[in-house]
């Protein structure tokens, strides 16, 4: 683990996770670096989102879908036995209990409603762990849309259960054979496909990445995690606000949604990346998939392949707002290894009766290490977003355990 930026408080100006500045900027990051053929489509999404988000009617429809279909609000679970062992007070925001099993559904329902509003008849998506693909297939079925999901061949192998679920839900799953055959390549392929399909299809990006307005829009659709948790913490904690707010970071959507609920409080924000996919902790300034952000690159400027046991963290970049929060010192980004994540998954299963997604297990692995190493002072209150459940990972785990 590396502490990349100084640990600073109180909240710096610009670190409260409001609207991006002009031209979709979070500090120097973000923007709309899309091929000209997609610029107009991005503008249309931006316009539609701004309009919809300002309308109580749209927000109401989304809130209702989140309640009656996705099962929100999700509980805040005190992890009692683990807390006792670690000497901190750990609370889990249970996104694993949403319908389809991860936070991805929050964003997808928002974008799917938007797509309907824009008169689109099909959703295009990329997926790594398959959770975003499953959520997209689900929302499409629910709202009578078609769904085409791009997925790297390597991920198709390791997340076979989710591939079956998507097909069962009526989605077309397109294997991507280019490059590392993981999330990065699936995203490139989805963008290529969108260029030829802007007329009738909406590109439903699964994280806080991509050209403006996606990083902002996806964070707004995920904000529900942080807002619910804020209210739940206010009711549950003596201090009202936890000392630490922790979430795993692939592209960074569950973290952004969680952080958004606490960015204006003194809570310390910690994003946990996979050792082999640490865009925020180790990336360099670059442009990929439509935005200016931090990406892992070699000495020639080629994007390098990420490697993580968690398919959803196997991405060499990070959302632009996280890059900005890092620069501001508002959030800190740390890394954990595959082994630590697997160990944390097992520990949560045995102490709390919860099998987490390997992505979410990364966040827990940091909590465990930090509590042991004094990075988390004894008695601290910690809110951790448990972004998804582990069903999809059982075959990966079976081979290891």
């Amino acid at each position: 683990m590396r502490n990349v930026s100084p640990w600073r408080e109180p909240v710096p100006p610009g670190g409260t996770m409001g609207e991006p500045r002009a031209r979709g900027r979070f500090g120097e990051y973000g923007g709309r670096y899309a091929p000209e053929s997609l610029v107009e489509a991005c503008r249309e999404v931006d316009e539609a989102f701004r309009e919809a988000w300002a309308e109580p009617g749209f927000r109401g429809s989304l809130a209702r879908l989140l309640a009656v279909h996705a099962g929100r609000p999700t509980p805040l679970t005190p992890a009692l036995r683990l807390s006792e062992a670690l000497g901190v007070r750990l609370y889990l925001k249970r996104e694993d209990l949403t319908h389809t099993g991860s936070h991805k559904i929050n964003n997808v329902l928002g974008q799917a409603l938007l797509a309907v509003r824009m008169g689109r008849r099909r959703l295009i998506a990329e997926t790594g762990a398959g959770q975003h693909g499953v959520a997209t297939a689900t929302a499409a079925a629910l709202l009578g849309l078609e769904a085409t999901v791009f997925m790297g061949e390597r991920d198709i192998e390791r997340q076979a259960l989710n591939v079956f679920r998507m097909r069962m839900l009526g989605a077309e799953v397109v294997p991507v054979t280019a490059g590392s055959r993981t999330l990065k390549d699936a995203t490139s392929e989805a963008m290529r496909h969108w260029v030829g399909a802007t007329g009738d299809s909406h590109y439903c990006i699964g994280s806080v990445v991509g050209p403006d307005p996606y990083p902002w829009m996806v964070r707004e659709f995920q904000r529900v995690i942080g807002e619910e948790a804020r209210g739940q913490c206010a009711a549950e904690l003596r201090t009202g606000v936890p000392d630490y707010v922790v979430a795993c970071v692939g592209g960074g959507s569950n973290a952004a949604g969680t952080f958004a609920g606490f960015a204006d409080t003194p809570a310390r924000l910690v994003g946990v990346e996979a050792e082999g996919g640490a865009g925020a902790a180790r990336g360099r300034l670059g442009v990929m998939h439509g935005c200016r952000s931090l990406f892992l690159q070699d000495g020639d400027g080629q994007i390098t392949q990420a490697h993580s046991i968690a398919a959803g963290l196997d991405y060499p970049g990070v959302g632009p707002e996280h890059a900005h929060l890092r620069d501001l010192g508002r959030a800190r980004y740390v890394t954990v290894t595959d082994d630590e994540a697997v160990g944390a998954a097992v520990r949560l299963a045995r102490t709390e009766g919860i099998v987490p997604a390997l992505e979410s297990a990364h966040a827990l692995a940091w909590v465990i290490r930090a509590a042991g190493g004094g990075d988390l002072p004894a008695g601290s209150t910690v809110l951790m977003t448990l972004s998804g459940r582990g069903d999809k990972d059982v075959s990966t785990l079976k081979e290891l355990l």
């Binding site: 091929p35 000209e36 490139s188 442009v287």
Partner: protein
């Protein structure tokens, strides 16, 4: 300008300060010649610069040299494969530019094309200066739309590199005017809503787009994406000043075609463009 048939209103003298690439393309266009800009992925084979000589011998008016990037989101499979092949051979911006520097002058303007990450990696100033030192005159960056271009525009102008912007069938007219105004060298008209790659016919959107660009500029307009055959080049020439031919070249290179084969192929395109030049546009 020698050909006055269309009158000065449509083809005024090039704006003062037009760069070498633009001056060359305008001069040729104004003689009635259809412009041909073939593409090659830099570093694709050990002797890849021989392709440049073959292109020049076949009558290329400019040559586009691709600097391969790991994640080419606007390229179809052929140019993706070409890029992967070159990268697997160890190609990099630095090595490709070194190869170009070591070549005797071709007498044909070179235009580099790449994704913005490679530009940012060096920094726009250093990147453009390196292009200049290697004898490259122009630059195309397909993932850098006009509203994000300021940073590179300044660096390019300072280094004497002509940054050509892309226009697409989806571009609204006022934006097309801005692209045409800020583009240097030529305007790159993307013929269709899709990625690079061979197609069986010229897209219908090509004619409409070039027509819309012509309404706002007299800068040379090159049509690219999908143009693969002499017939398509001939048809494209009816609308635009010329064509960019990429995937059709690179598919042949990937299939093992050497410089002489490519020279023969491009000669058929050259002839098609020359035949078309007598016809009214």
């Amino acid at each position: 300008m020698t050909n006055s048939a269309l009158g000065p209103a449509l083809h005024p003298a090039p704006a003062a300060g037009a760069g070498a690439v633009e001056r060359r393309l305008r001069a040729r266009r104004d003689t009635g010649r259809g412009l041909l800009m073939p593409y090659v992925t830099g570093g694709i084979t050990p002797g890849w610069t021989d392709y440049l000589r073959a292109f020049a011998a076949a009558g290329a008016d400019a040559i586009e040299v691709g600097l391969p990037f790991s994640d080419p989101t606007l390229d179809g499979v052929t140019i993706q494969q070409a890029g992967d092949t070159a990268l697997a051979r160890g190609a990099s911006t630095r090595r490709i530019l070194a190869d170009l520097s070591g070549m005797p002058a071709l007498g044909v303007p070179l235009v580099a094309s790449t994704y913005y990450n490679l530009v940012l990696h060096e920094g726009p100033e250093a990147f453009c200066a390196a292009l200049r030192r290697a004898g490259v005159g122009g630059l195309i960056v397909p993932d850098l739309p006009v509203h994000e271009a300021d940073e590179l525009e300044g660096a390019a102008a300072a280094a004497g590199i002509e940054l050509s912007l892309l226009a697409s069938p989806a571009t609204p007219q006022p934006r097309l005017a801005e692209i045409s105004r800020r583009s240097r060298g030529f305007v790159y008209a993307v013929s269709l809503m899709g990625t690079t790659g061979e197609r069986t016919a010229l897209a219908a959107s090509a004619a409409e787009l070039t027509e819309r660009i012509r309404r706002v500029t007299d800068r040379p307009v090159l049509l690219g994406f999908g143009i693969s055959t002499p017939d398509q080049a001939r048809e494209a020439r009816r609308h635009a000043d010329g064509v960019v031919v990429g995937a059709a070249v690179m598919r042949r290179v990937l299939d093992g075609a050497g410089p002489d084969d490519l020279r023969a192929f491009l000669t058929t395109l050259r002839q098609a463009l020359d035949q078309e030049c007598d016809r009214p546009r």
